[in-house]
Structures are given as structure tokens and as C-alpha cells.
């Protein structure tokens, strides 16, 4: 009976809590986009941990869990930690990460000490202050939710209002200064918004996991767009979706914490995006890389056949793989695969383990050798590089030069006959 009535309470507050975590997560993601861009993710993590003593002291002062007092305490200790990290990093010989780790752990230790102290005292017994460690989304009262939700909306509005300025500040602070923007004021404002977002976010996921709310949506969104505006929209979307999904999952079973579920949802989306996103994901880039690798190998094999033909004085002869290896060292095992691809593309013809250029293959081989020799010519004639210095660079450039650049090179060098090593430059027959 008790179980059932409990469920009913959970159910009726479900959407209130979901709405609350939604707003908190979205506001953290929007501000966190800038934190991510400034590479200050771990600073955000440290600020989150550092809020704990502020919250505890605010509780000691006010004697109750009043949201306004808690916010004030959180803001003050968050800011104090920022100033201390900055000081340690700039004025002592401690490195940046040591400064962050020291401030993070000491503030957190002090927070734990105060928290245990409060819990010993009579009024602290039911304070529920340790909810701050892992979040307390499910325990939030509706009155608190309105305040936190309202503050989250203010946060989002402020970020939108100062979007242009924050963008400049994040990408090019020197330029922002030079066009007369109040850089210091903006920096303080952005930092304050970050501290506020963290102070709000820990209501949902707690201090330990807060860093995820701040940076994980941005890390996921960056795989889908290069533009800041789109990135912020996508990260807000991901954060909102994860907040609601996480809340729903955690409500489906008793005593499931909401914060960790939100973070797990966020992390899964981020990891999937990092690995699988089209274009910028790890997998897409690996495939692209392999494609390029193969193209370069194929071109090198064609070129080796051409050199072979040049050396023997007969481009139309049939050559075996042994002859090829005499011209150029290839990595073990790449030649048979490259030959198979070239046969499939119709660039080579086969007759009992001997190979010959097809019409298209010969043109392609000529093109590559031409680009190589043209580029050597350019380096030698225009950049005045010695003839024995130019080969390695041309080895790379021959795979990259586009038809447009080729045309320009031909124009510039006036259709030369021979390259600096006196080898003939092959043109289309």
C-alpha cells in the first residue's frame, strides 16, 4: 500500500521534475558551450566541487535550505575558487592543472568537513544537504523549482543577449579588445554566468557530475557543426533530450538517482557522436583517411610502371611484379591489393601475371608524372630551390595538385619540355 502511494506521488511530480532538469541542463549546456571553446572544462569541474563549502556555510548562516541563501553561498565560493585558481596559475610556479586539482580537492574537502559537521548537529539531520553531492532532482520542491527554473531562463536570456560579445571573447580576445569591447567586464560576466549555471546545475546532477552537464553536450555537438550558433542549438537540444530521458528512466524504478542517469544519457550521445558522426566522427575520418591512403598507393604504383616503361624505353610492354619492385620499394603486401584495384578501375591489363597500361591507365600515369615534374620545375625555376632538394616535396604534391592548379602551373612555366633533372614531361598524347 505504501509502495503504491509513493508511486503516485512520484508520478504526479514527474513532469515538474523533468521540466526542472530540462531547464537546468539546457542553461548549463548553453553557457558550457563557451566554457568548452575556451578549453576551461576542468575549471568548470573545479568550480562545481568548490561550490560545496559555500552551500554548507550558507546553510549554517540561514539555518534552512532556502534557495536564495544557497545560491548566494554557491556564487561566492564558486567565484572565490576561480580567483584562487587564477592566482595560483599566474603568480606561483604551479602549473595550470596542479592549480585546478589543488583548489578542487581542497574546497571539496572543506565542504565535506562542513557537511559532516552540519549533519552531526540536530537541525542538520534532515537538511538533505548531501543531496548536493549527487543531485536531488527528484526531491526538489515545486517552490524551489520555480526559482531555479526562472534563474535558468535568465541565464539563457543573458547568453543570447551577449552572444556576439561572448563569441568574440572566446575566439579572439585581442581583437575584441582592439575594437573597444569591455573585455574585462565581459570576462567577469561570462564567468559569473558559468558559476551561476554550475550552481543551478548541481541541483540536478550534483557537484561531482556537474562537469558533464557543462561540457559533454558541447563535445557532442561539435561533431555536427563548425558554426557556433548551430553548435549551441544542437548542444541545448542534446542536453534537453538527455535531461528528460534521464528523468524518465530514473522514475521508472524506485531509488534510482536522476543525476547519474542524465549524465549517462549525455555521455552515450557524446561518445556515439564522437565515433560515428558523419564527416567529423572518428569512423568517417578513418574511412576518409583509408581512401586517401589507397589513392596515393594506386598512383604510386602507376607511376612505378611508368618509370619502368621509361627505363626500358617501351611504355606498352608487359611487366611483372618483380620488375616493379626493382623500381621502387613498396611496403610489404600493398602491391597485390593496389594492382587488383587498378585492374578493377581498368587502368591496367593482365596477361598471365604480367601487366600493361590500358589507354586510361597510361593517361593517368602520365598525369601523375607530369604533375610531379611540373612541380619540381616550379620549385626549381620560381622558388630557386636546388635540383637535388625538390624531389621529396614533389612526391607529396603530385597527389594533391588539382586540375586548376595544374593549368596555372603550365601557364606560369610556359609548357616546359623537360624537368630540372632533364626527364621529359609527358603530355597527353
Amino acid at each position: 500500500m505504501l509502495q503504491i502511494s509513493n508511486w503516485w506521488i512520484y508520478d504526479s511530480s514527474l513532469w515538474l521534475v523533468a521540466g526542472g532538469t530540462f531547464l537546468l541542463s539546457v542553461s548549463a549546456a548553453v553557457v558550457g558551450g563557451f566554457t568548452f571553446l575556451q578549453k576551461r572544462s576542468l575549471v568548470g569541474d573545479a568550480v562545481a566541487h568548490s561550490i560545496l563549502p559555500g552551500v554548507a556555510i550558507a546553510f549554517l548562516f540561514s539555518g534552512e535550505k532556502d534557495p536564495w541563501w544557497l545560491m548566494l553561498g554557491a556564487l561566492i565560493s564558486g567565484w572565490l575558487s576561480l580567483i584562487l585558481m587564477d592566482y595560483l596559475n599566474k603568480r606561483t610556479k604551479l602549473s595550470n592543472d596542479t592549480a585546478i586539482a589543488s583548489v578542487l580537492s581542497v574546497f571539496f574537502g572543506v565542504g565535506i568537513l562542513l557537511l559532516t559537521y552540519i549533519q552531526q548537529s540536530a537541525s542538520g539531520e534532515q537538511s538533505g544537504l548531501d543531496d548536493f553531492l549527487f543531485g536531488q532532482a527528484a526531491a526538489m520542491r515545486s517552490h524551489d523549482l520555480y526559482i531555479y527554473g526562472g534563474l535558468a531562463l535568465v541565464l539563457i536570456a543573458a547568453t543570447i543577449a551577449f552572444y556576439k560579445e561572448f563569441k568574440l571573447l572566446s575566439f579572439n580576445p585581442e581583437f575584441a579588445q582592439s575594437i573597444g569591447l569591455p573585455v574585462n567586464f565581459l570576462r567577469i560576466l561570462l564567468n559569473s554566468l558559468m558559476v551561476l549555471a554550475i550552481a543551478l546545475g548541481i541541483q540536478a546532477v550534483g557537484v561531482v557530475l556537474m562537469a558533464a552537464l557543462l561540457i559533454t553536450p558541447a563535445a557532442a555537438a561539435r561533431n555536427y557543426s563548425d558554426g557556433l550558433r548551430a553548435m549551441l542549438w544542437i548542444s541545448a537540444l542534446i542536453a534537453g533530450f538527455s535531461a528528460i530521458t534521464g528523468t524518465l528512466i530514473s522514475f521508472s524504478a524506485p531509488s534510482m538517482p536522476t543525476g547519474p542517469w542524465i549524465v549517462v544519457c549525455l555521455s552515450i550521445i557524446a561518445l556515439l557522436s564522437l565515433f560515428l558522426a558523419p564527416g567529423k566522427g572518428m569512423l568517417a575520418r578513418m574511412l576518409m583517411q583509408r581512401k586517401h591512403q589507397r589513392k596515393i598507393t594506386d598512383e604510386n604504383v602507376l607511376k612505378a610502371f611508368y618509370h619502368l616503361g621509361e627505363r626500358q624505353g617501351n611504355l606498352a610492354a608487359w611487366y611483372g611484379l618483380k620488375d616493379l619492385e626493382a623500381v621502387r620499394d613498396f611496403e610489404a603486401g600493398v602491391i597485390p591489393k593496389a594492382i587488383r584495384r587498378l585492374l578493377r578501375k581498368g587502368h591496367l591489363l593482365r596477361q598471365s601475371e604480367r601487366y600493361q597500361f590500358s589507354r586510361a591507365g597510361l593517361d593517368e600515369a602520365r598525369r601523375i608524372v607530369r604533375l610531379h615534374r611540373l612541380w619540381e620545375m616550379y620549385l626549381n625555376q620560381r622558388l630557386r630551390l636546388k635540383a637535388d632538394h625538390i624531389h621529396p616535396n614533389a612526391e607529396t604534391m603530385e597527389h594533391i595538385i588539382s586540375p586548376e592548379i595544374e593549368a596555372q602551373l603550365l601557364e606560369e612555366l610556359d609548357y616546359p619540355e623537360r624537368d630540372p633533372h632533364q626527364s621529359p614531361i609527358p603530355y597527353r598524347s
Partner: protein
């Protein structure tokens, strides 16, 4: 000093000293936040090992924790190098993800795991005297004391063996490699030792506060000296003093001993920074 207080302080001091020994290199190698990440990330490994083996004092826990610590290191490298995510975000994503999974596992198997969220955070150093163990007739005393003594001995032995390698690794990795020193071996053995300290200290001071013991005394010592051996000695002294001070502070205000130890370590650091400032001016 009562015998209980002595046990608690000695256990804390041994953990703090082991942490300070390794932490000095962590600070010098600018990897303090990686230590932080590992200390969070061992949680799911510990819980899974606990569920599988069903007991707390087993080698399974060590293996589980070391596995998830390595998983975190690997994930951070993968995200940073292969997925080209900036390093700070790689660290942030990896450890929050693993820690969240750990917390979820704990709350899912509440009845079966003799771990709770409080233990994860505070450790149970206050209960050290209650957990007695005896080794035949040779010695009998608190088990955590024995564990931390072994930990300290292991750390000392490791450092004696690898001192030269770690020193070169910390100051000039390229030079070390050019001398033919296998830097990867020292790097991974060092990370494994950090994971080991994290795991063994886990029950004693809690997963998160171990970071403070790793980093803060070493950072304080680093402020005072520029040579390696004095730095390590000073770090150990600061660590041990934090254990003493922390115990009495905690008893004084009736709070968490681990939290108080960190608070005292932080005070040493604050005092050092202020003193350096004053000394520089005069």
C-alpha cells in the same frame, strides 16, 4: 593519545605519505587532473568486482579497479588522439561517465553491495580501529593499518627501482627516449601505481579526497624547492602533518576525518603561498 587515535593517525599518515611520494611526480609531470580522473573512474570497476566476488578485501577489487582505471586512461587517449577532442574535455567526459555508471551500479544493487555513496566520498578512516585482523601470533591490529603499511612499502620499493626513469620522464621525456629508456614502461607502471594507491586508499579516505592527498602536499612542497629529493621529502612531511592535524581538527568539531585532513593540507598550501608572497616582498 589513545591507541585508537594512534591507529587512525598512523593509517592516515601512511596513506598520505604514499600519495605524496607518487603525487610529486604527478605534479611535476603536469598530470594532476589525470590523477583526479582516475580516482573517479575506478568506481565502476570496484563495484563490479565487488558484485562478482562478493567481498570487500579481495584481489578481485584491485583487478577491477585497475581495469577501470586503465579503461579511463585508454578512453581519454582515444578521445583525445583519435577523435580529436581537446584534452580537458576528453578527461571531463571520461571520468564523469564512468563515475555516473559507478553510482548507478551502487544504487541498483544497494542490498548486495556493502558500499554506499557516503563511503565513496568520505571513506571510513574513523572505523579503522574496529576492523581488526591478526597474522597468527606475529602481529594483530587494524586491517586498514596493515593495508596502508603494505601500500607504503610497495610505493617505496617502486620508487627505489624506478627513481631514475621517473626523474628523466618528468623533466625531459624526449631526452629520456633518446637515451634508450623505455618511457612507455615507466609511464604505464607509474599510472598503475597511481591506480593502486587510489584503490587501496579508497576505503580509507574516499575516492575523491585521495586526489587532495596526491596533489596538495606535493604542490605545497613544489612551492618551496626546486630540487626533486627535497621536494619529495617535504611533500611526505606535509602529508603526515595533515594526518595529525586533520585528526584533531575532526575530533574538535566532530566532522569527517578525511575532510579535515584535506582542509589541513589546504591550510598548509595557503600558508605557503602567503609566506612566499611576504618573503618575496621583503
Amino acid at each position: 593519545m589513545s591507541i585508537e587515535a594512534f591507529y587512525i593517525i598512523l593509517t592516515g599518515a601512511l596513506v598520505a605519505a604514499s600519495s605524496a611520494l607518487l603525487g610529486s611526480f604527478l605534479v611535476l609531470r603536469r598530470m594532476a587532473m589525470l590523477g583526479d580522473a582516475i580516482s573517479h573512474a575506478v568506481l565502476p570497476g570496484i563495484v563490479v568486482a565487488f558484485l562478482l566476488s562478493g567481498q570487500r578485501e579481495s584481489t578481485a577489487l584491485l583487478i577491477g579497479a585497475a581495469a577501470s582505471g586503465l579503461l579511463a586512461t585508454f578512453l581519454i587517449e582515444l578521445l583525445h588522439r583519435k577523435a580529436r577532442l581537446q584534452e580537458d574535455a576528453s578527461i571531463g567526459i571520461s571520468f564523469t561517465w564512468l563515475f555516473a555508471i559507478g553510482v548507478l551500479l551502487i544504487s541498483t544493487y544497494t542490498g548486495q553491495v556493502d558500499l554506499d555513496q557516503e563511503c565513496v566520498l568520505y571513506g571510513e578512516i574513523a572505523y579503522v580501529p574496529l576492523d581488526q585482523v591478526s597474522l597468527g601470533t606475529i602481529w594483530s591490529g587494524p586491517r586498514p593499518l596493515l593495508v596502508s603499511a603494505i601500500l607504503f612499502a610497495l610505493t617505496l620499493i617502486y620508487l627505489l627501482i624506478s627513481f631514475k626513469g621517473l626523474k628523466l620522464l618528468s623533466f625531459n621525456e624526449d631526452h629520456a627516449r633518446s637515451l634508450g629508456i623505455r618511457t612507455q614502461v615507466w609511464h604505464f607502471s607509474f599510472m598503475a601505481m597511481v591506480s593502486l594507491v587510489t584503490v587501496l586508499a579508497f576505503e580509507i579516505v574516499g575516492a575523491i579526497l585521495i586526489v587532495a592527498l596526491l596533489v596538495v602536499p606535493a604542490a605545497t612542497a613544489f612551492l618551496w624547492t626546486r630540487s626533486l629529493i627535497p621536494m619529495i621529502v617535504l611533500a611526505v612531511i606535509f602529508g603526515v602533518l595533515s594526518s595529525f592535524g586533520g585528526y584533531y581538527l575532526a575530533v574538535g568539531i566532530n566532522g569527517s576525518i578525511a575532510g579535515a585532513m584535506v582542509t589541513v593540507a589546504g591550510l598548509f598550501m595557503l600558508l605557503s603561498v602567503v609566506l612566499m608572497r611576504v618573503l618575496k616582498r621583503s
